[in-house]
Symmetry: C2
């Protein structure tokens, strides 16, 4: 290697990892978790969600958590926002970034938010305007981007249309999600190569779940094909209970180990991440899906 | 894809997977397992080992198992053989292939068999002569090929020397083993590319363990760099208790899923493999490391 290689990890565990877990994760422990994560060197943390508390009671304390954390300079703290009501609530907190979402699949979008993709995008444009006016960064998820359990593979035209809509509303970064674990490494690499050649005016992130153990292989193939931003969840917890075949996000520790073993710098402190994973395991009283968590100290 | 892609999976679960498990796996269940595996379409099965029963009591029934199975035409049944005594015992059975082994690392080889690499190779040449005279195929493992816990990375000269020695003694296939889980995908891809360009007069297989969840990523990278034969263990059980950081072999089901998802044919019947994994789980009374075993039917 002649040039030092780097990759950016976006920690989504406090939101995507915890949102459907059993039992309420106490607010002070969430705050402790986010603060540990920021101490690990992570520059991007998705802290919580402003979806309706009836839909996701686990994150009903979104405002409290965002106001309770010790914001570290240089870290972008994010919150998922489904609509204008969520946006207004989020903007009352010190959150740095709002994360929007729409499905690439019409059928999945209708089942998820009871709207067409076009209707969703029109609504998100209003959210984006308010967020930008308030000086916040914007992330835009494209969910089911790698395949939909109802519609199968997603045509690139659909992805292009959403990317163009996001770019037009000033979204800073698009995150393509493998919501139900339908990606495979070759398909991911093809999509990564196509996106990398697109000259898009926004950053591009991939968001994999670890369905059937393909998470790291998908990350590897996408990285080698040009993607430099990946979502992960500390300990690997999560997985939408209503999504067919969904597992948790790719574990942060496993992803750090993959990249550091290959000589690609993550800039993260492994032992602090391990403490964050231990906190999650302790509160959820669960065996973490992480493959690296219970192992000895890595060699790198 | 214009040409149909294929990969060969070598099932090593009955040997490498079971050899250090707690409690004796009853001989009739071993026979049932091997017969199920052959019905799945696997063409290569490493059935057992003729190492001394004191070293590996789990496989003390090697001869009984090899005489008890229903040999399916077209399937190559193999047994690990450490020395001439093991070779003689193996040749009294209907085994098709003998598998030899030597470490790429001097230190590891001394700790493993109390000999230098040169001494080991001299002994293996005698074994090879007898096996070839008896018309058996030969596989030669190169263990710690991706790294040694004592010596670190292995120089390619050492691998070349062992490959040349194996070729000279008529070994049909070399299997490079990541004995203690030190491979990473870039290193594996580099080694695969180097080997693929070598014009070696023997087949080349890679044998990964799933340490820190890197197994499938290593397989993917090696396949894309030219390797077409991979070892796997049904359910993902195994892992040498004396090897630092070792996990089980990459699970057969997970590997089949990876390749079939990418459109690479394995020629295997997934549901029969799942039954074989269920048998292992039932006998060992364990939760399998497999990520695919407990999931719904794959899409391919």
């Amino acid at each position: 290697m002649t040039v030092a290689e780097k990759v950016t990890l976006v920690e989504v565990g406090p939101r995507d990892g915890l949102q459907y877990e059993q039992g309420f994760f106490p607010t002070p422990r969430k705050i402790e978790l986010v603060d540990l994560l920021s101490q690990s060197g992570l520059k991007r943390i998705e802290v919580t969600s402003f979806v309706h508390p009836k839909a996701v009671p686990q994150l009903a304390d979104a405002g409290e958590v965002l106001r309770g954390i010790s914001k570290k300079p240089g870290v972008t703290y994010s919150a998922l926002v489904p609509n204008l009501a969520g946006c207004r609530a989020a903007l009352e907190t010190p959150v740095d970034e709002l994360a929007l979402f729409v499905s690439a699949s019409e059928t999945h979008n209708r089942k998820n938010v009871n709207r067409s993709v076009a209707e969703s995008l029109a609504g998100l444009a209003q959210v984006a305007r308010q967020a930008k006016a308030a000086g916040r960064r914007l992330r835009g998820y494209i969910i089911t981007a790698f395949g939909c359990p109802y519609e199968g593979r997603i045509a690139k035209d659909k992805l292009r249309a959403i990317l163009e809509a996001y770019a037009a509303m000033g979204v800073d970064e698009a995150a393509l999600g493998d919501t139900t674990g339908m990606a495979n490494p070759r398909q991911a690499a093809q999509l990564a190569a196509w996106l990398s050649q697109g000259g898009w005016p926004l950053d591009l992130a991939f968001h994999f779940h670890d369905s059937r153990g393909l998470g790291l292989a998908n990350v590897l193939a996408s990285y080698e094909a040009g993607i430099r931003i990946f979502d992960c969840s500390v300990g690997g917890v999560g997985g939408c209970p209503t999504a067919i075949g969904a597992s948790g996000n790719v574990d942060t520790l496993d992803m750090v180990n993959l990249f550091e073993e290959m000589g690609v710098s993550t800039g993260l402190e492994f032992e602090i991440l391990r403490r964050a994973a231990a906190l999650v395991a302790e509160v959820l009283q669960t065996r973490l899906p992480s493959r690296t968590f219970g192992q000895g100290r890595p060699r790198w």
